[in-house]
Subunit: 342 residues, 2 copies
Amino acid sequence: MKKKLSIVDIANALNVSKTTISFILNGRAQEKRIGADLVEKVMKYVAEVGYKPNSLAKSLRTGKSNTIGLMVEDISNPFFASIARLIEDRAYKNGYKIIYCSTDNDTSKTQDLINMFRDRHVDGYIMAPPEGIEEDIESLIKDGMPVVLFDRHLPGVKTDVIEVDNLFSTYNATRHLMDQGFKNIAFVTFASHQTQMMDRVRGYQDAMKSNGLRPTIVKEIVFNQDEEQIMGPLRDFFKGNPDVDAILFGTNHIGTCGLKIMHEMGLKAPTDIAVISFDDYDVFKLHSPPITAIAQPVEEIADNVITVLLEKLNDRSSSPKLQSIILKTDLKIRNSSLKNAI
Amino acid sequence: MKKKLSIVDIANALNVSKTTISFILNGRAQEKRIGADLVEKVMKYVAEVGYKPNSLAKSLRTGKSNTIGLMVEDISNPFFASIARLIEDRAYKNGYKIIYCSTDNDTSKTQDLINMFRDRHVDGYIMAPPEGIEEDIESLIKDGMPVVLFDRHLPGVKTDVIEVDNLFSTYNATRHLMDQGFKNIAFVTFASHQTQMMDRVRGYQDAMKSNGLRPTIVKEIVFNQDEEQIMGPLRDFFKGNPDVDAILFGTNHIGTCGLKIMHEMGLKAPTDIAVISFDDYDVFKLHSPPITAIAQPVEEIADNVITVLLEKLNDRSSSPKLQSIILKTDLKIRNSSLKNAI
């Protein structure tokens, strides 16, 4: 184990005042108009020497618990798992610990978890919220608790949100399939009224409409923890729609289930059915053929979530500005959606 | 939202006493000698009606926080993410919330997290522990805190442990490669002194020795968050060892990196190199060819972890019995390790 360095050690080593180091480490550089060069120098040094802020001392000094509650839909989903991990890393470097839980998209479980986090005196909340907890979030905000939502928002709830451009992402992916000459394009997704999921369906529908008369084929499957309950309806869909020549899957999970059915039925992409899925991960990259995917910028999402939350934690003014940040996705075009791919 | 059911409602519906229902829901059925049939009947009913224990009321009654701290190595690793999720589900059904964190295998971060959990008054700890926290765990145990370790143990620390039979698993996988006629079998893994990793190397070495004179080829790669720092040495290994005709990878992560290098270099399994990896997941199942994998019984691990912890939470006697449970893995033989596979 390394000997613990103090802020004084860092200040001496870099010949910078202790106060400046402290502002930088507490995410207050911008507020205190500290130059980006100096911030970079300090953060680089801190990373090199492996400095970890002494959170207990800090907590006693500031009256804060230095913990942040993070709620994702399902920690076993690779998208949420990687975001949670990145948020945890970035928070830890800033002296905050993250405690996280899965909401299961269950309103009453989420309310339970919010109460638990309140009891544990977390300093702030990061959530990919299910529907139905609008009042709970408003009550947190009324109590002065910073709340940052990501992945989706709750219409009517005024707080900071980090999202991706879901509508454009599926619009763009659908156009790509059309450009490749696919005609009977289906959108297969989990049934959901969450904003990000509604936008994904609309992006597909808008692209289909923009191209004329074709009927849209939207298959919504009810989510179930038991994968066989997802595979059954999916299998029926493939069997009942032999004319479909391309599918856009709405999430990585449904996309992976779709690939399993295709393997089972001996259907190859792109010759039998072209395939694109939302969310990129190793399953799609290593598949033969590799699967075209709408990659979400997970690092950027994590960076923005934690930056916005730290700003709010450090600026408890009565009317803080609200940020709604929309990040771009990246359509990774691979052989599964290319008409003339070998 | 469903109307909240109480224990009384359940007792009335099933015509069973309230006390019995309570014992069952608190994991005390065995201790109270309640028959397995009745336990199953109650748990099935509870699952059907979606009963959630009222944790606040229970906490007031019992003086417990009804939260459990769970520390895994890296929540973005699919093995830990799925275990964490299953533990969370099972704990929640028993009226406990799980708050979790990644230790990053970092001793000082883990100590920090233990302190944080202590401050938050968790009732018990579940950990896949890094090395170097032996004293911290012993101090928790001395204070009467239930601590259940999983995935690995800490030599000398007396507490409950749930593990798999790592040594036999790699022994068996290596024997399978030998039976298929592969001769130059390498074991590629992350450098680690953790018990599960040491056992995996030994299982491979024992199998090699049992078969005569062949030299063992063990390549240990230093773990790095930056995947390119793993890919570089792995690429060098493939290039520097053209005679290797089979590789057993020590974890899902290193196995996936290995497959990426094989794709990059145009090496096919099993014709160029046969492949087996520890840990099974969608990447291996959907790969062409499907990858032979040592599947850990994640559901069973989660069930045992939570059962043992609940038993300890409900039995605070001064000298509780310690359990060391070793579960079996399942070698899922697929085309990547079959000599005559197409």
